[in-house]
Symmetry: C2
């Protein structure tokens, strides 16, 4: 029996289990950002988080399990979507948010580390895929609103438009080394908006043959 069981009035939301998870995931994120996947060791994470080693092994089992849980936690902690009233404004807000995240020293390093980890481990790749699915779904309504306002063709694939905003920013980070700047963010938003207006992301559209 834990303290939470015997003293219901003192139970905080989540209680000890949630506090342990927060401390362990914070330590895991810091370690990934500082040292990458190679630095991630359950015993060391337990020490850094000030949590019993047995607790960490029992709850997360492996480094892969820990990274997957970290991604679940990251997906839950996203910021609310900005609504500006125009497609370009909304996509620009999204692009700038992605850019700030990737340009942030800890966050940028953490994203690079989990993407690198996913290249070698299918379970991490699946957790990463779910993470982006959630993030994309949070912003997709701004594209649907633009369809409803008549700014975009009907049956535009809203998720693909949001992915198109992120893609050049991640591409730049992962192939060029430098985090994207604000000009790159604005251009990513404008490119996605222009392509969406041209009907490139319409779902049922016939593909044009290459000439």
């Amino acid at each position: 029996m834990t303290a939470e069981d015997v003293e219901p009035g003192t139970v905080r939301p989540g209680g000890r289990t949630a506090r342990v998870r927060t401390a362990v995931l914070r330590a895991a994120g810091d370690t990934l950002a500082e040292q990458g996947l190679a630095g991630l060791d359950l015993a060391e994470i337990a020490r850094r988080a000030g949590v019993g080693r047995t607790t960490v092994y029992r709850r997360w089992g492996t480094v892969t399990g820990l990274v997957a849980d970290l991604l679940t936690d990251m997906a839950e902690q996203s910021l609310p979507r900005t609504e500006t009233g125009s497609l370009l404004g909304d996509l620009q807000a999204n692009a700038r948010l992605v850019r700030r995240t990737l340009a942030d020293a800890r966050q940028g390093a953490l994203f690079k580390a989990v993407i690198a980890a996913a290249t070698g481990e299918p379970r991490t790749a699946e957790a990463l895929r779910r993470f982006y699915e959630i993030r994309v779904a949070e912003w997709a309504p701004c594209v649907q609103q633009a369809v409803d306002r008549g700014e975009l063709p009907a049956d535009t694939d809203s998720h693909e438009v949001i992915r198109a905003v992120s893609a050049p920013l991640y591409y730049r980070l992962l192939t060029g080394g430098d985090p994207p700047d604000e000009t790159a963010a604005d251009r990513a938003a404008e490119a996605a908006a222009a392509a969406a207006r041209a009907g490139v992301f319409v779902r049922t559209r016939q593909r044009r043959p290459a000439r």
Copy 2:
């Protein structure tokens, strides 16, 4: 003195040094594709390539040096650019080439491995940046030709247009796990073409403020 020095008539272009490099880089690429960066060990690469360990240590020094040389070699081995006579046709040819590369079992795994390696090692990131700079420069002329034909606004940044074609394909591979399909390739080409026509990649353009 080597055999090449005493018998000039028998010297093949590159000779033994080039053959050693080819064997070592092939072994390094195979190992990266199969096991990722963690599997890369100079002594093991020497064994796999059938080359003396001392030669490998003397010539490449470190795993980082070997990966950088592999990227230099990959940049030299690209396929010639396709010329179709239209911007969309050219960008589609580029997108399909990138897609085939990323969907190929060995090549796709190799690209994932070097991108992952670059996240943790600045020298690898710099070698990767140079690799993409060379690849992008090979295809950029098709954008300049479209400008000359009047298909695109003057002062369009041709390199940015080519990067915009690759970006969604790499983004999909690295965040979703699945290699992109041909529909994704064609959409990437169409999106880049539409954005370029709308003037998004014009260099001197004033950024529109977010509304």
